[in-house]
Symmetry: C2
Subunit: 140 residues, 2 copies
């Protein structure tokens, strides 16, 4: 199974350690195409490719190749939102969104109000472990 | 002409005055369907509808009805990214993205590296006025 993991890069790297932990958990279920999201040296400047066109084309190729999408949606990110919108256009791909509640903020209505997505709230990495188990059990 | 203006709500309201100014400029070219983005009373909690499902369905109906999209992409936002991804799926719709450079940050590669979008950097509202004039001249 090919997994497209989406997490914020240029939107902000506050959750980069968590992304790496999620990617490690996802490895149990298949191949994570976007492992670089967990690269701890990657900053919000976005050094993950020689040019933005290169990054866009690489990520879109992965997006079109993936069997399933898991997005961490706590940090607002144009790229993550865009990728969810494009993946939804493929129609048959299961999309899981992981969200950690924040004080004074709330999840985008375009994500939280979208019945085509599976939105799961979590607090800890242990919660995510169980959410992923359920998600992949229902796919197979 | 029906215009879908996209700007951050739950991603953060730092640019809400600017969104209102852009909406006022857009009024010269057509009907802005998403005028509420400029509502100065709207916070990052997102009080623009009774439920998230209501907001999602309303905004998607507007998105499918629009002839053109103008997105302000300086504040990272899941909703704005999602809307760009969905609008791009419609293929025939011209999409203009307005971006103001920020210190220590950079525009998402999924936007900046995407040749299907027209990306324009600006510094002032006067710059935007000229950018919009050019954009709409080439559409008609």
């Amino acid at each position: 199974m090919k997994i497209y993991f989406a997490g914020s890069i240029r939107g902000g790297r506050d959750d980069k350690e968590l992304y790496l932990e999620i990617i490690n958990l996802l490895g149990k279920y298949g191949k994570v195409l976007t492992e670089h999201i967990g690269d701890q040296t990657l900053s919000a400047m976005g050094e993950d490719g020689p040019t933005v066109e290169y990054i866009y084309n690489r990520d879109m190729a992965w997006l079109n190749e993936a069997d399933v999408m898991v997005a961490e949606v706590t940090t607002p990110s144009l790229g993550v939102g865009y990728e969810i919108g494009r993946m939804e256009g493929r129609q048959t791909i299961p999309i899981l969104c992981l969200y950690r509640e924040q004080d004074g903020k709330s999840l985008s209505a375009m994500i939280g109000g979208n019945n085509n997505l599976q939105i799961k709230n979590y607090k800890t990495i242990q919660n995510i472990e169980i959410i992923l188990e359920d998600f992949f059990k229902n796919i197979k």
